[in-house]
């Protein structure tokens, strides 16, 4: 499982949507359930499961699955 698929798997659980509803291009605006509370829970879950910590600016800027995956790789997560 690559990093994008991994993040899709985590996001599907946190957001309560099927993984098939998500891909690298999926943005926050496209998923009604992806509100700020779930976004925070998603970030914390990714950090915990991948053993990384996002920077403050990254947290504010990440708005899609692809951006989260790219930031996670930048923070040392395996691709």
């Amino acid at each position: 499982m690559n990093i994008t698929q991994n993040i899709i798997h985590i996001a599907a659980q946190i957001l309560g949507v099927p993984p098939t509803a998500l891909d690298a291009g999926t943005t926050r605006e496209q998923i009604a359930q992806w509100d700020s509370v779930r976004n925070l829970n998603l970030i914390l879950a990714i950090e915990q499961q991948l053993g990384i910590e996002f920077g403050d600016q990254e947290i504010m800027a990440m708005a899609s699955i692809g951006e989260i995956a790219a930031a996670a790789v930048k923070r040392g997560a395996a691709e």
């Binding site: 009604a32 509100d35 700020s36 509370v37 914390l44 053993g51 910590e53």
Partner: protein, 705 residues
Amino acid sequence: MRRRCHYTAPRLVQALDAVGVTPGRSVYAHFDLAALGIPEEVLLGVDLFTVVHKAMRDAIGERDTLVTPAFSYSFVKQEAYDPATTPCRVGAFGERFRQCAGVVRSMDPIFSSAAAGPRAAGLFANLPRDCFGDGSLFRRLEEEDAIILLAGARFQHITALHAVEQEMAVPYRYRKLFCGEVRHPEGCRREAWIYNARLMDDRCLHDFSRLEKICRDRGLLAEQQVGLGMVAAVSLRDLFQTARQEFGGDPWFLARGPADDPIEIERQRLPPRVFSTMLSHNASMREIVETLQPLPRDLVSDGMDAATDCLKKITPMTVHQYPSGTPCFTWTVPERWACHRAALMDENGKEIFATNDHPLHVLSYSLPFSGVVGREELFRHLHSYPDRPDRIPFIFKPYERDWGLCCQDAVKRTLTNDTYRVKIDTETSCWTMKVGEIFLPGDREETFLFAAHLCHPYAANDDLSGVAVLIDLARELARRPRRRFSYRFLVGPETIGSAAWLSHNRTVWPTIKSGLFLEMLGSACPHSFQLSAAGNSVLDTLGNMMVEKETGAWIAPYLMVIKNDERMFNGPGIGIPMASLSRRQKNGLPFPEYHTDADLPDAIHWDNLEASRDLVGRIVDELETGDLPVACFEGELFCAGVPGFDYGQFGYPLAHGSPFLDGLHTVRMLARRGDAGFPFDTIRDALQYLHQQGFIRFLDKGRLA
């Protein structure tokens, strides 16, 4: 690894306190929970909403009211609104908060809010159906000087400012009507709400940055850093007052700009369709009908503008313009509507019918729609006349938000597939509704008004026949060098046109003694004359007199023949008696082609149209040339005091006529009084005698003809 947090709940409470969120005032709070970062309590397993909600409660106390946006935009999205179940579409806090125990949600189907606290129910009680208008939630919050709180949210998010925009009638927004269903505890109810919508142009996007700077510079905006973001607060009263002051110098103060004329903005977005329609100055009634019939004269439309412009060029007409959203009594001027194309196709895209075949195949004022629908769903939006299966209906729903197609019922019956493709390409825009008025002043201020509507696309008898008679009469009267009475002629969109003109011309109401509405005058049947609500106005009497001589004519009380613009004039608070002249069948449809594609010039009985024109001409002639007696006595005349007065012959007729010795009723009209009227000669002789004795004077002439 232990993650680093950005703030703590106590710090949030401290910041709220520092910006002024303290017990004693209601708070309208906008949240962007992500903007503040991660609170320590979340890392300890507490839910983010719970952390922030508790901090809010700690700050304002249990005895004060917390209100948050819970906007659903339901009516804008053509959805029903159920305050209990419809999700909040503006953030996680509002969505969670609205579901908490003890929280109530307003019934606004577009900009609902959720509130908890002692004033919550009162703030939401009996809201006007106008999201940002007088008495709206935001105006109520201003009255009690609530605080606007921005917890991570930006100044740009202060929705309440739209209330000031509406109050100041900013040019880049207009009052737009939205309709839909709202679920109340007692059941679903169809409602219409006004939202002061912005024009669909980037220049009209809201931009509160200038107001933000002013508030900050004046120390009205208290701010505290919390985590990664800011918590800020401003008194709603101060905010509104500051905005109002700044609006004085710049109506575009809260918009991105640059400023431009709103109609010009809409003209650029949706250029008007140009028609080459022209009328010669002496166009006959037939030419008027035949020329204007092919125009798409929907309520507010390019076709209506073209038709009005044609009429303006052949008469001394003033065209009044009422912008979309203008309140007219309880009505609202609609937007301009245009249909580019509409079609019904089968699943494979094969066209079954389209507006190319006939423009009436689309519901007038249909919303745009594109998609595949089941037959049952299609039939909810597909209009036909089962009793006239070969005709395409003319259906209009300018005040409902719905999509729709129209077709022959014979075609509808062939639609047996499970699914169909619908493509409706329509647009609306902020525009001006046109109402044409021809005012012909006379020697006397007392005025008689004639009205006809112009807004039935592609139709001839309903409604151009009435327009043609009205225009022909107006032209003839305008040519007269002198008129005894004054006359007004109104041509515009049905009902809303009358509402707009009346609501903007209150000062002339007292001068209008009565009116006559004209329509369907090219039908085969004899005249039908409907009395005004009062039933005893000058034109009631005159119309009655002229029509009753006609074989087969139908004279009926108010609303027993037609229901149209006369309702506005006769309505409460206005009380201008307006009768109606038409030619409609007594039973069933007004005329066979009514509201169908068959209402064409070919179906007009031109001789009948001419006869109707002659009839209204005779009405006006009686007004202009009839003898107008005025009583020189008060109360009932003491006949024994009139030397030689034959009380036995004249007393009874005079008693019936004397209330109308007012200079508006001619001698012929006075002879109409009493149960069966009186011989004209009797009335004439009585009045002549009283005139000789000085009890009567005649206006204009001074003697009987």
